[in-house]
Subunit: 417 residues, 2 copies
């Protein structure tokens, strides 16, 4: 017998038929003798509808009221799933964040979970009850509902799994696991049986939209073994209830991954833009003068590259921002031009960032060189490079994205079983 | 300065434009210096959608889960109205039943309010805050949301008005008051400036669907002056903010109504069916033998008439039930035929009940005789009669409903100003 937290996203609970399918997944685990708690998102499209109403009511709406409105989506799903499970003879009961309680901070609209006392849910397990919990929300210190920000249901599930010391947190979604790269670009992409928390974190933040970054961070901190699998498969197909080796991808501590590959996956992010400041005065504090105002304007700056000029007094500063933020970023920089002191500002949109990820890089030299050569062989121009211990990110023209992804996927041997 | 509870129904908050109109009504009262709390229903159609999902999930759904799902409708409206009011510069905040708390009993799906401690809302008034409260729900002893049954938002509003000792409870709806009869049947129907609680209770239970019966009962018990008015009028039209004499109908204690008419209004209910049991054994307990099983089957029996047979040993028992329940009632009676002992069972559908209502009847004789003669003059056959202190109800063929209503409206002088 194990203790499992199962989480189902919006597309998995989009209508009553799909909720019924979800209930069959839950019943399978209950029938196998496991202790089960379930976390659900709002029915697909509902959150957008509620958010749109808030905006229509007032463009500058109060986050506290936004939370009260938007949290209702998950409450509805939780109740409907409990009803469906009961109809199948499963002892189930829905719970909202304020009842457990899932305590958050006061940052309404983007709250962080502060504390979940596991005893409430432990009691439910003891009663043989499947607790169906509204995801994405908790109770703030002001005794009001607080939401965790978009996609927060993944975070709810992992936090609950940590609080109840679950053996596993199963994230059911509309894909059947984490792949070596996006299968829509590279049909030879393979599903990974396991991936480490650190690698998943890089994959998630680089555009593999399987899991929210925050939930992976949380899973890593609390060492919650998190399993990504599909809710759309037949719940009773062979192997689905195999506790040791179900179909999907396990996100776990690297110690659990015996044969670590050098490279685990290729991620990409389109819609990047590059901004270059030419001949910036090279003196202390200049980076703060550039990036401080951009941060204040909530612009996410990435891939910063600085080249020292020949005479050492001037420098070129190049960095990327999301394409959607270029106009805002340029406005902020022009406004601070005199303070920063630069000769010219150039910006190029239509960039893409392609990244090679793998924990094995730590102990293998020359991984980056392989990428650079492979891309050069294909005639793909590299605009910027940044690296971390387990990742190499390369900025290229977006037109070459698919070619670059396929090239890297192949050169690191990810095409092969 | 007065303290007002304002309640807005589903059609009044059906979309953001209407919510904006509602906010203008609220702002008008706030600007006039009044202390205001607001109770809202779900957006028109939302509750039906949520109820349908519960049924689809499982026909025999759990009332606790139904409550968790369905209560979300009012929660959304409360948040949206608070956002809209804030956008207009009104200090507003939404509250749900569990936060105040509005304590109910454990009868999920049709709970009754047990207690509202007025101190929470008194504090909000003290802060100059407009509390926007989700109607139709409270917190049950099991720490779960409980709903009050359909139309329960009227009851929420009156109960809150009683708890905070409001000067008035304004029920904003899609009609502009209570009329002497249904204006769709009798264009000469006049809006009543005032009506007593007792009369309104009869009007409400007899099919004048302006207010829920339970809310009128509650208003009567706690002497909450309740005002029915339209939310669709221009919130800033002349007289709308007149505290002493706004457009609409005041439901109040009969002492407040100086010139009491003998007859106040004519109500009607279509879709009644008549069931007659012929030659029932006339012995003690026979009525219980008939009506006990019907009550157990949740069939609402009305207008019971018993005629003693010539020899005194047998009796005819006639009563009405809603047309929708005829088949069920007949099945129940046939099943108990041997126990009850009757010769024959007849049933007629397509009946209507027309009622004459007026507190003045108490002190005036001959009111009923006027009705009987007027209907006879029109050739309308009376199938059954029941009376109370302030009401005469007459069962007729439904085809004559409109004629009977107009005839009675005229004969009691209600057509005249």
């Amino acid at each position: 017998m194990a203790r499992i937290v199962m989480k189902f996203g919006g597309t998995s609970v989009a209508d009553i038929n799909r909720i019924r399918n979800v209930a069959r997944h839950v019943k399978r685990e209950v029938d196998a003798g496991h202790e089960v708690a379930v976390v659900v998102s709002a029915m697909s499209g509902k959150t957008n509808e509620l958010v749109a109403w808030c905006r229509e009511a007032s463009p500058m709406h109060d986050a506290r009221e936004y939370d009260a409105v938007v949290a209702s989506g998950e409450q509805v799903t939780a109740g409907l799933l409990a009803i469906t499970l009961q109809g199948m003879g499963v002892h189930a009961r829905s719970w909202q964040g304020w009842q457990i309680p899932i305590k958050t901070d006061n940052a309404h609209g983007a709250a962080r979970i502060q504390e979940i006392d596991g005893s409430f849910l432990a009691k439910r397990f003891g009663e043989g009850q499947v607790a169906v919990i509204a995801g994405f929300q908790g109770l703030a210190p002001d005794n009001r509902i607080a939401t965790l920000g978009r996609g927060g249901s993944d975070t709810s599930a992992v936090a609950i799994a940590a609080a109840v010391k679950a053996d596993r947190c199963d994230i059911y979604t509309d894909v059947d696991g984490v792949y070596t790269t996006d299968p829509r670009i590279e049909p030879k992409a393979r599903r990974l049986a396991k991936i480490s928390f650190e690698e998943m974190l890089e994959m998630a933040s680089l555009g593999a939209k399987v899991l929210q970054v925050r939930s992976v961070e949380l899973a890593m901190v609390h060492k919650v073994r998190t399993f990504v699998r599909s809710s759309f498969e037949d719940p009773d197909a062979p192997g689905m209830g195999d506790f040791e080796n179900p179909p999907g991808t396990l996100i776990c501590d690297e110690d659990e991954i015996l044969e670590q590959q050098v490279v685990t996956g290729i991620a990409y992010a389109k819609d990047e833009a590059q901004i270059s400041l030419r001949r910036v005065a090279d003196r202390p504090g200049v980076a703060a003068g550039i990036f401080g105002p951009l941060a204040e304007a909530n612009i996410n700056v990435d891939m910063i590259v600085q080249n020292i000029s020949e005479d050492g007094s001037r420098t070129d500063m190049t960095f990327t921002v999301p394409s959607a933020d270029v106009a805002k970023a340029v406005a902020v920089l022009e406004k601070n031009k005199d303070q920063v002191g630069f000769d010219a500002l150039q910006h190029d949109e239509g960039m893409a960032k392609v990244s090679v990820i793998g924990i094995g890089m730590r102990s293998h030299a020359g991984v980056a060189a392989i990428a650079f050569k492979a891309l050069a062989d294909r005639g793909i121009n590299i605009r910027a490079i940044t690296t971390s211990e387990i990742k190499i990110s390369i900025l290229i023209d977006a037109a070459y994205t698919e070619l670059a992804v396929r090239t890297l996927h192949s050169v690191y041997g990810l095409d092969k079983q």
